[in-house]
């Protein structure tokens, strides 16, 4: 199963590496979102510093949704879903593999956005460990949910608008937890950063369990 998982992840990342959509289009767009958010807040430097944690996750949400969309468009455009169904690769490995690939891509996006808020919003990190753990927890939760809902809307005609509608309510707790944890790590809020980070791990664990169990149902065709 581990081998299958890695195989799927490697395949996804290779496809992505060739197309370079994540780094070439999504990351610059997400950076642009950071700029636009600064416009919205009238570039008020104290507001930006206070809100940096939350604005960061909003930008991740935006860019991440695009990456999730793409991760499944690549499959359905080429009819890969049928190939998967025919291949010996089990639904759980497929789920984990695609989650892993998304984790890497969203992680890269977050590195770009992290430098973005550091430079543009002038934040100071007070707790690097918490920042790192919260980012990892949030990214795991994000990728797992993303794969689960990505396959839900895969191959449907209006998926471009459906996916965000389905995804955002599910990601809301992660966004909430990620923003609060980041605020603690960036020293603008005193409390409970670690509680929020662990909440994200719990959410990730629950959705991983659901994904392992339900992914087969979502792949079935008729």
């Amino acid at each position: 199963m581990l081998a299958e998982t890695l195989l799927v992840a490697r395949k996804d990342l290779r496809v992505e590496w060739r197309a370079k959509v994540a780094l070439g289009q999504v990351a610059p767009l997400a950076l642009l979102i950071l700029v636009v958010l600064a416009f919205a807040l009238d570039a008020n430097s104290s507001l930006l510093e206070l809100g940096a944690g939350g604005l960061y996750w909003v930008a991740v949400l935006y860019g991440g949704t695009l990456l999730i969309q793409r991760s499944f468009d690549v499959e359905t455009d080429d009819g890969n879903m049928d190939a998967f169904r025919m291949s010996a690769i089990g639904a759980p490995s497929l789920f984990l593999g695609k989650s892993l690939a998304l984790f890497v891509q969203i992680g890269l996006l977050e590195l770009v956005l992290g430098s973005g808020i550091a430079l543009l919003y002038n934040v100071r990190v007070t707790d690097w460990v918490l920042l790192f753990v919260a980012a990892v927890a949030g990214t795991v939760a994000f990728s797992v949910c993303g794969v689960l809902w990505g396959v839900m809307s895969a191959g449907l005609r209006v998926r471009a608008t459906l996916l965000p509608l389905l995804l955002v309510p599910v990601l809301a707790p992660i966004l909430l937890a990620g923003s609060r944890a980041f605020e603690t790590a960036l020293g603008v809020r005193a409390d409970a950063g670690w509680t929020w980070a662990s909440l994200m791990f719990v959410i990730a664990a629950i959705h991983t369990a659901i994904g392992l169990g339900a992914f087969g149902f979502l792949l079935e065709e008729g």
Binding site: L148, M152, S153, G155, L156, R157, V158, L162, L165, L166, V168, P169, V170, A172, P173, L176, A177, R180, D191, A192, T195, L199, I203, I206, H207, I210, A214, F217, L218, E220, E221, G222
Partner: protein, 254 residues
């Protein structure tokens, strides 16, 4: 006019549901009289308490409907390979319950906001319950959107069923995280007076309203279920017509 000719004219009614419909109107009328005129104004909240006779039953119905959606979804996923109708009965039940649930969640939000305006002085508070409810509302709107998409009916129903289950599991996650958020950082003034003590006549009015709203919701769900069945019949017929016209064309060209 006899009831048989009329049931021919009206597709989704049967004598039994017509009785239920009349009962629903009567129950609602009595509910309005009790809630708006007979029950007293509250000592603290004044007349605003009358909003709760709609607000509280609506959210109960909404939650009940979403529970029904989840249970039917599980039954659908279990039955889809075995039963003769491929579990479509449960799928229709899930769909109609979710739609009625969304309608009543909407009513909950509207009545809640109006109640908040007079009681808190503002339409919206970032209160845990309100925030959870609006996320619930959007989640099930998404579920209904997924059900409406043009796709193979079985594929769509399967995905919708899984979505209903995940959404239901998500309700407590959303609720607790939002609750945590508000209690960890809340200013004390926000938590004051969310639910007043309800006793005596107000209590009975509230209990009765819940019954009346339940009758209304049941009527709605039954009819919606029948409409979904008709929609399925129509789609099947359209598909059959398409296939036969193709076959005819093939015959003509050969």
């Amino acid at each position: 006019m006899t009831s048989t000719t009329r049931s021919n004219a009206k597709m989704t009614a049967t004598p039994a549901t017509r009785v239920l419909g009349v009962l629903a109107i009567a129950a609602t009328a009595l509910m309005a009289v009790l809630g708006l005129f007979i029950s007293p104004a509250d000592v603290i909240q004044g007349e605003a308490v009358r909003m709760l006779y709609l607000h509280v039953p609506s959210i109960w119905i909404a939650y009940g409907a979403f529970v029904l959606t989840s249970v039917s979804s599980i039954l659908f996923l279990r039955a889809r390979k075995r039963r003769e109708d491929q579990g479509r009965h449960y799928d229709r039940l899930a769909g109609s319950a979710a739609e009625v649930g969304v309608v009543f969640t909407g009513i909950t939000l509207i009545t809640g906001m109006l109640w908040g305006k007079v009681t808190w002085g503002t339409y919206w508070q970032w209160d845990a319950r309100l925030t959870t409810t609006i996320l619930l509302f959007v989640t099930y709107l998404g579920y209904l959107a997924l059900r409406r998409l043009p796709a193979d009916p079985m594929v769509r129903s399967q995905r919708a069923a899984v979505m209903a289950l995940i959404s239901f599991i998500n309700v407590p996650i959303v609720h607790y995280s939002v609750d945590w958020w508000r209690t960890l950082h809340q200013k004390a003034s926000l938590s004051v007076g969310r639910r007043p003590e309800i006793t005596g006549e107000m209590y009975w009015t509230l209990l009765y309203s819940t019954l009346a709203v339940t009758i209304v919701a049941t009527w709605l769900m039954i009819h919606r279920y029948r409409v979904i069945r008709l929609e399925e019949l129509r789609d099947e017929e359209a598909l059959a017509a398409l296939i036969s016209s193709r076959l005819k064309n093939d015959d003509g060209s050969n």
